[in-house]
Amino acid sequence: MTDAAVDLHDVRKTYQMGDQTVHALDGVSLTIPQGSYTAVMGPSGSGKSTLMNVVGCLDTPTEGVVEVDGVDVTTLSDAERTALRGDEIGFVFQTFNLMPQQTARENVELPMTFQGVGRTERRERADDLLERVGLADRLDHKPNELSGGQRQRVAIARALANDPAIILADEPTGNLDSETEAEILELFEELNAAGNTLLVVTHERVVAEHAERIVHLFDGELEDIERIDQRRIAGEGTR
């Protein structure tokens, strides 16, 4: 048992496009300590989403080792990785990935359903989470009845459903106004303070500065890890 939540050793992800090889990740080694708050920045196409997917056990690297809680996930079976995703990892997708036929509440309930949480408990927690992301009045709306920012917040609430130890958020504030953005960032700070490990992809420096450090990706390579000395604190309106 290490105190790293996630450990990446020389991780590569390559795609063969005809005679051209695309290196989405090109030898990334990174340790994400437990309870840390890390931001990931980089130009479009630099491999940020790919990194998140690999860390979240959604994608398997072409080469290298990914350890989550000290376990090499590349050796796990599909079912074991699914179980790990189910109770350890909360994922906020860049493209939200909500279930189109289900209401906001049902979408948030879904990860709990798969974990076998009882109906009333599920519902209470879903309502509570949606309230925390400011959607108490949109419980019964389906994704296509919600704005982009509202969908993003449903996706965030869903990621938190099983109280995961590791929260991976791909552009979680990309569609939000500054006020809602501040609320989400405050929520992240609370979660981080409660001991959750956070990994957040963002294009915005101000969002990234809420983290303890910023990982800069460029062309699939880890360019720099920048330590933030003056962290912004959402709760105190430092922006």
Binding site: N53, L58, A79, A83, F93, P100, T113, Q115, G116
Partner: protein, 414 residues
């Protein structure tokens, strides 16, 4: 995930994709419905053709005659000996699948008369009401037992100067100075099948054994004098049962019956089935069974492909949703269970509607082309089972396949 949860979520998916669900159900309805329609049509056609061919009932003629002469369809050869007692008849009726045992005996007379016309005639045939089961009458119906009534075949009805019809009287001269009037209860139809005589054009007059038949014998089994007949007809419950009844009846008649003791030693009891007809009908039945099976299998196949196609499209369409579910912790088992429950729900709904549509379709089609409606329920069960089964397989396979792919690939699926 609990089953109740899957049912709730599957129902959600079904009502959430109305058009797709309706199309899938339609696929099952067409599959199951067409099987039931065609099978019903086939069974009705079979019933009609068997009805046309089966002019007589599934019968076994029991006669007694001299050993070497008793050829098939006997009774004509040798002297008619009244050996079959009422006790024998009662015993034969006990055999499984025997519907009736009909006695036939001759009543000797001198002449028959109608109006002013008198015809010299040697005998009348004494029998029971059972012999007319399934026969059709030009006029009237079977006689009453114990009554002074008679039934005529068409040849007998026309042998007098004036034609005889039901309700009229004929006179029977049993012997000189012993003449009685009988009421004609009915006149048989030309095609009606009782005994070969009806068709052969020889006039025949049928009267009830009670009171006209008086030949008796002492039954070795009961020790009493009973009516005894030279010929019996055993009617089985169906053509398929003739082969079951025959050996049992033969065994009884040859080994235990009164007849076996009463007959002269040189005589032999023979049982004759209308082999040609029974075989022909059994042939028709098996031809039709094959035909119906063929039609059912083909329409099941067509239906199954339709159902499978619809389920495949429906699941493939949702690869992305499967990816989402997997990404947030759904196991492959959860996903397969969801689609399984969904396809079972759709399959059951489709099968129920399909059965109703098929029944209505088969009934309408059979009625339209003037067939007696007959159903083949075993195929309904098969159609429903295959409808649901194929829906399940066609639903599970792509769901299982989609659940196996990396969630990231499933999520990229558009």
């Amino acid at each position: 995930m609990k089953l109740g949860e899957s049912v709730r979520m599957s129902w959600r998916a079904i009502t959430g994709h109305k058009l797709r669900s309706v199309l899938t159900v339609l696929g099952v309805v067409i599959g199951v419905g067409s099987v039931i329609t065609f099978v019903t049509l086939g069974a009705s056609l079979q019933a009609a053709i068997v009805g046309d061919v089966a002019t007589s009932s599934p019968e076994i003629a029991v006669t007694v005659g001299p050993e070497s002469q008793g050829g098939p369809g006997g009774g004509g050869g040798g002297e008619a000996v009244p050996v079959f007692t009422e006790h024998d008849m009662a015993q034969l009726r006990e055999i499984e699948h025997v519907e009736a045992v009909v006695p036939t005996g001759q009543v000797g007379i001198a002449a028959l008369g109608h109006g002013n016309d008198t015809v010299r005639w040697p005998s009348m045939t004494a029998t029971t009401r059972d012999s007319f089961a399934g026969d059709s009458f030009q006029s009237g119906g079977p006689f009453e037992v114990g009554a002074n009534e008679a039934v005529l075949n068409p040849a007998a009805a026309t042998m007098f100067a004036e034609n005889v019809s039901a309700g009229e009287e004929i006179t029977v001269e049993f012997a000189e100075n012993d003449t009685r009037a009988l009421v004609v209860a009915g006149v048989l139809n030309e095609s009606s099948g009782f005994a070969a005589v009806a068709a052969s054009g020889t006039p025949a007059v049928y009267v009830p054994t009670d009171p006209f038949y008086t030949t008796t014998a002492e039954s070795p089994a009961t020790g009493e004098r009973e009516r005894a007949y030279p010929q019996l007809t055993i009617r089985a419950s169906s053509y398929e049962r003739v082969d079951d009844v025959e050996p049992l009846a033969r065994d009884y008649l040859e080994n235990e019956s009164d007849a076996s003791q009463l007959k002269p030693d040189s005589y032999e009891i023979s049982l004759t089935t209308n082999d040609a007809l029974v075989e022909q009908i059994q042939g028709i039945l098996s031809t039709f069974t094959n035909f119906i099976t063929g039609v059912a299998v083909i329409s099941l196949l067509v239906g199954a492909i339709g159902i499978a196609n619809m389920m495949l499209v429906s699941v493939t369409e949702r690869t992305r949703e499967i990816g989402i579910m997997k990404a947030i912790g759904a196991t492959r088992r959860d996903i397969v269970q969801l689609f399984l429950v969904e396809s079972v729900i759709l399959g059951v709904i489709g099968s129920v509607i399909g059965t109703l549509v098929g029944l209505a379709g088969g009934y309408a089609a059979a009625t339209l082309i003037d067939l007696p409606v007959a159903f083949a329920p075993e195929w309904f069960a098969i159609a429903v089972a295959v409808g649901i089964g194929v829906g399940m397989l066609a639903g599970i396979y792509p769901a299982w396949d989609a659940a196996r792919t990396d969630p990231i690939d499933a999520l990229r699926h558009e």
